[in-house]
Amino acid sequence: MDRPVLLHVAILLALTALGVGTARAASPTPSPARQAQLIHLVRQDCGACHGMQLSGGLGPSLSPAQLADRPDSSLVATVLQGRPGTPMPGWQAFLSASEAGWIITQLKQGFPPLPPCDPPAATC
């Protein structure tokens, strides 16, 4: 391999790394505090229709088995934009795309439980 080609590869590699880095920066994993808020939101407020155990209600079950065959991108779109013709509203006023993505990842793995007293309070 001659030097110009090597240089080329090196630059490409660098750009790729930079690209990956940029992508990561655009969809960061939510902070632990935000994750706690998201777990609360999903279990308590999504739970209004999907059930606190996410086993379904007026909204369908959100169990890992139920979601396994659905591509992440379509599930994220449902969370953010809702599903016309059903009661599912879009949540994009409250969630970023990366937060919706984190929720979908967690749902597919089995969603984390609520801590015993959530949100924390002196009364419990």
């Binding site: 209004a48 606190m52 379904g56 209600g57 009661p87 509203p89 409250f94």
Partner: protein, 411 residues
Amino acid sequence: MRPTRRHLLSLGASLALAACAHVPSPSPSPSSPPAGGPAQDTPPLRGTGDLGLVIERASGSVQLVEHSGRSALARITGLGDLSHAHVVFSRDGRYAYVFGRDGGLTKVDLLEARIDARVIQAGNSIGGSISQDGRLVVAQNYSPGGIRVFDARTLAPIADIPAEYAPGKVSRVVGLADLPDQRFAYALFDGNEIWVTDLSDPVHPSTTRYPAGRQPYDGLATPDGRYFLAGLFGEDGVSLLDLWHPERGSRKILTDYGQGSEKLPVYKMPHLRGWAQAGGEIWLPGVGRHELLAVDARSWQQTARIPLLGQPVFAMARPDGRQIWVNFAFPDNDWVQVIDTDTRQVIHSFSPGKAVLHMEFTPRGDEVWISARDSHEVLVMSTRDFSPRARLPAQSPSGIFFGHRGQRIGM
């Protein structure tokens, strides 16, 4: 193997103390037991007219409360998934029937603060009702879709009525309400119908079907049991059935409501079950609109539209009908608004805590109990001057149910 019923009753009192974590009560200790009486084995003699349950939705527990002294008496655990729980009461006031999301149906003895009987009756349930004669408890289920009938004394199954609206197609059931003459009305969210099931011969139920409109999301029987209303999500309007004249069929009211305007997102479905009949009008939450609607209960014409700060969930009439109290869907669920039905004005807007889920009036409406899920607290307020009277700690409280519901139609 279950012990006999008599055995359970005698065991119950002593077990109650062990099984239930007693919640500290702000009221003075109960009066002394009779001389020579077994102090710790016999629950204090008391009436049931001021008892109720507060659902603790995240922990599968309920608190037994009394509203004369505004205090918690006991916590009863082991009731399963209590998201969207509902409670009805036996006519003697002693027992509460708690319907859980996971299909659990639990009969709670309010006097002994313990579970008397419990069955898992379905996979996914959203509530239930009790018959006019108090002998039948009926659960409404999403999965398997339909209603199921149980003996109120033993919880033994009596009848199963699948909501099969087309061959092989079973609907989720909403809005179940008890009616006079051992009948029950309910709506089929997927089947777009209202069904009325006559359980006067419970082993041989007979069901009459009526068209409802698209996606009925909840139902309501008027306090006299004459009318059943089903709110529609999939189209504008409310479906109405006159049970004095079922032969006339169902009809739609409020069909022009909100025509042409874009619906707002609904982050939590409104509930119609609020006793919101007041002064000859029925007050309903708008769906997809931040409004409260009043409808004349004779002409069924819309009489008022009150703008509110968010999507109403419950619109509950104070028992005298002078006020309507409204709570809201996410993200406005930290708020409550009070409407004067005479002036049709919002007379009070306030935040009783975080994530307000439910309100329950004392039987004659002097006070209201409000659950604030994320404040882990139940607030007791005067409805006359809106001053706080008490705050009771509770874990993620949701529904509050007082025993006087057992004496009313359609609860």
